[in-house]
């Protein structure tokens, strides 16, 4: 059996990749994908612990996260399309009209 720490390290790596992509990339869609990556890193942690502790709680959390992520994808992609229609760019650095 694969030890728990392996799963945790892998999920940590996935999460770190997500954070890095989120901070570095300028394209909104890439940022969006990075967020999904972070969510799935967390999901992996949940299922790993669930398997280890023989508990169903972690699985339920994962399902919730997946539902939220799906909803988020729907809303997020709609926003991205709206932004692209008005600003004709997907570069976040140029979407800064809320600045004081």
């Amino acid at each position: 059996m694969v030890p728990l720490s392996y799963y945790l390290i892998l999920s940590g790596l996935l999460f770190a990749c997500g954070v890095a992509g989120f901070l570095i990339k300028r394209n909104i869609i890439t940022i969006f994908l990075s967020i999904e990556l972070m969510l799935n890193g967390v999901n992996l942690t949940f299922v790993a612990f669930a398997a280890q502790l023989k508990s169903l709680d972690g699985h339920i959390f994962v399902f919730f996260v997946m539902v939220v992520a799906a909803a988020e994808a729907a809303v997020g992609l709609a926003i991205i399309i709206a932004v692209f229609r008005t600003r004709e760019t997907l570069n976040v650095d140029r979407v800064n009209l809320l600045k004081l």
């Binding site: 901070l23 976040v92 650095d93 800064n96 009209l97 600045k99």
Partner: protein, 663 residues
């Protein structure tokens, strides 16, 4: 006897007129104002009848209604204290007050703010009745402050005129100085005796010995009370507000600044007689201040040209006499003079008001003259008043003033007596000067002048030749004239075949608490023992002084009308000094007011208020602004920088948890 009804009647009148009178027709305002005071007067008469039937052991008649406040062993109640002294005051206040209400109907008929005026008059009545009927000092103090308020409102009745508004403020602030002294006296009473109820206080005070030689707490209380009385009763050094108070409507001058409110100080001193009897030095101070005020104000009154100013100084001078009487422990003489003064001074002011009304607002006596023809009723009433105040027998003030002077002599204060007689001659002089200038000679006013004259912003654009006042004003004059004539007959001394009823009537108030006082009893006793022929001789001296004043005025202002101008020119600087009221106002201005204004401006306003308080408030605002400006830079609008902050924050939280070893 349900005495609470008496003060509450005018209060109800004031409340109805003051809150809703704006929408009432004049007739309804009149009915409410006059009805409430008239009913109060009628009830007071009924109370007087009941009172005379009370057995002596039930006097003072005390009614207690409720506890007002209680703090530990100290408590004060709402209650009424009716004895001979407060009964006399009650009748004077309601009676004279009612007549002045009637007079005001005519005088104020053309004025704006009609309902406001009557509401103020009624509230004044309420507070004055509270003052005289209270059964403890704190309730008296409520009335004391209340009449100050009513006075402020009525002096500044024509508040659009700056001089009137200023005079109101001056009266109020000057009174505050005196009230401060009175309040400290009350605190001392609470501290040393633990009560302010008259009946229990007198029991405690009478156990104290007379403070001869060494001044103790009673002397301190007496002097502080005197300070309060000098403010309310316009004595040296706090008299300055009263002449300015003539800015109010003339009936107000009559009611408040002559007949009733200013007598509050005299009443308070008389009411506190158990304290003053045990503090001879405080009592002496009362006598000296009264005598000084009497002659000081009389001398100013001799040169004033404004008819109301003459009467104002006359009021101050007469109040001085009352203090003189109280100061030699002849309280009943002081109260007697208070009563006759209420009649004749109200009459004088109302007559003056009638003249002012008849001349369309003219107050300068130099523009009057020959008014005997135009205002016959006023002339005769004024004549009675003038002869009364000057002290000619058998009119009222002859008996009361003479009683004060006689008691002063009998108590051994020869110097005070002499000053009092000189002041009496001066009184006679300035009153007959007023009389001759106003009613005799030729009319010196501009005929049918359309010029609106200064003071009482009275009358319309075109005011014809002088005319007599309407009947509603004349009737109170006549009634007051009758009282000024016969009012003194209740106090004819025994030396003249009278029975001095008023003295015997008031005696229990001042006797029952005075057993332990040799000074008081010796004065009374000496008066009894001196032979009556001596007393008659002193009366003759008083009448002689009055005659001297009369002859002087007759010679200068009737016979040789060219002389006063020359005399004034000859006296030069002295005349100017007296005409400028000895420049006391200027002195107070330089010594107290200007430094106070300077201190307030530089230290309190610019230093404390602007520097400290505004500095703190503005500093807090500016600090918040600075901080926000710095923090604002974080809101770059760049999503990735926000995300960076979130990541940094999350990392910081995790680092903290790891460091603390959270499980």
């Amino acid at each position: 006897m349900h005495l609470w009804i008496i003060p509450l009647l005018p209060l109800a009148g004031a409340a109805i007129n003051g809150l809703m009178g704006k929408h009432f027709p004049k007739a309804l305002v009149n009915t409410i104002a006059l009805g409430s005071t008239g009913a109060a007067f009628a009830y007071a008469l009924w109370v007087a009848a009941q009172f005379s039937g009370l057995p002596p052991d039930q006097i003072p008649h005390i009614e207690r209604y409720a506890t007002w406040l209680s703090a530990g062993p100290f408590s004060v109640e709402f209650g009424i204290y009716l004895d001979q002294l407060s009964l006399v005051m009650l009748l004077v206040v309601t009676g004279v007050g009612f007549l002045i209400h009637v007079y005001s109907l005519g005088y104020m008929a053309h004025e704006g703010g009609y309902y406001r005026y009557f509401a103020y008059l009624n509230i004044f009545m309420f507070f004055m009745l509270t003052l005289v009927l209270a059964n403890n000092y704190l309730l008296m103090f409520v009335g004391w402050e209340g009449v100050g308020l009513a006075s402020y409102l009525l002096i500044g009745f024509w508040f659009l005129k700056k001089s009137a508004a200023d005079a109101g403020k001056k009266a109020f602030i000057t009174n505050r100085v005196g009230d401060f002294g009175f309040l400290i006296a009350l605190f001392l009473l609470i501290k040393h005796f633990g009560t302010l109820q008259y009946d229990s206080l007198w029991k405690l005070v009478t156990r104290y010995p007379v403070e001869t030689g060494a001044a103790g707490v009673l002397t301190a209380i007496g002097l502080l009370m005197l300070m309060g009385a000098t403010g309310k009763s316009a004595q040296i050094p706090l008299y300055v507000w009263l002449p300015d108070a003539m800015e109010g409507p003339t009936p107000v001058s009559a009611l408040i600044h002559a007949a009733t409110m200013v007598t509050a100080g005299v009443y308070m001193v008389a009411r506190s007689n158990p304290i003053f009897n045990r503090a001879p030095e405080a009592l002496m101070a009362v006598a000296v201040i009264g005598t000084l005020t009497a002659i000081f104000a009389a001398s100013i009154g001799m040169v004033q040209t404004d008819i109301k100013k003459v009467l104002a100084y006359s009021t101050i001078s007469q109040l001085g006499y009352m203090f003189m009487g109280c100061g030699v422990a002849a309280y009943s003489a002081g109260i007697f003079h208070l009563m006759t003064h209420a009649f004749f001074k109200a009459l004088l002011f109302l007559s003056a008001g009638s003249i002012i009304h008849g001349l369309g607002g003219e107050q300068d006596m130099r523009h009057m003259g020959g008014l005997r023809k135009y205002l016959p009723w006023t002339f005769w009433c004024m004549t009675v008043a003038t002869f009364t105040i000057s002290g000619f027998p058998p009119l009222a003030a002859f008996f009361s003033k003479d009683e004060i002077l006689w008691q002063t002599w009998a108590s051994g204060n020869r110097v005070l007596w002499l000053v009092g007689v000189v002041a009496a001659a001066m009184t006679s002089f300035y009153m007959f000067r007023l009389w001759f200038l106003t009613f005799f000679g030729e009319y010196r006013g501009a005929p049918a002048s359309a010029e609106p004259h200064g003071h009482d912003s009275h009358g319309g654009a075109a005011h014809g030749s002088p005319h007599e006042s309407p009947m509603v004003m004349v009737i109170p004059l006549v009634l007051l004239a009758i009282f000024s004539f016969i009012g003194g007959w209740v106090g004819v001394p025994e030396a003249m075949g009278g029975h001095a009823e008023i003295e015997h009537f008031l005696a229990p108030v001042f006797q029952s608490t005075a057993e332990a006082t040799p000074s008081a009893t010796s004065a009374e006793g000496a008066a009894e023992h001196e032979s009556s022929s001596t007393e008659l001789m002193f009366s003759a001296i008083s009448v002689g002084a009055a005659a001297v004043g009369f002859l002087g005025a007759w010679f200068l202002y009737y016979k040789r009308t060219d002389l006063p101008g020359k005399l004034a020119a000859g006296a030069g600087g002295l005349y100017r000094l007296v005409l400028d009221k000895y420049r006391i106002d200027e002195l107070y201005g330089a010594v107290f007011i200007q430094p106070l204004i300077a201190l307030s401006t530089t230290v309190f306003w610019k230093g404390v208020d602007r520097g400290l308080i505004d500095g703190a408030v503005d500093g807090a605002a500016a600090g918040a602004n600075e901080t926000s400006n710095a923090m604002r830079q974080m809101q770059s609008g760049n999503i990735r920088s926000y995300a960076g902050w979130v990541a940094v924050g999350a990392a910081a939280v995790i680092a903290f948890m790891v460091w603390r070893g959270v499980r």
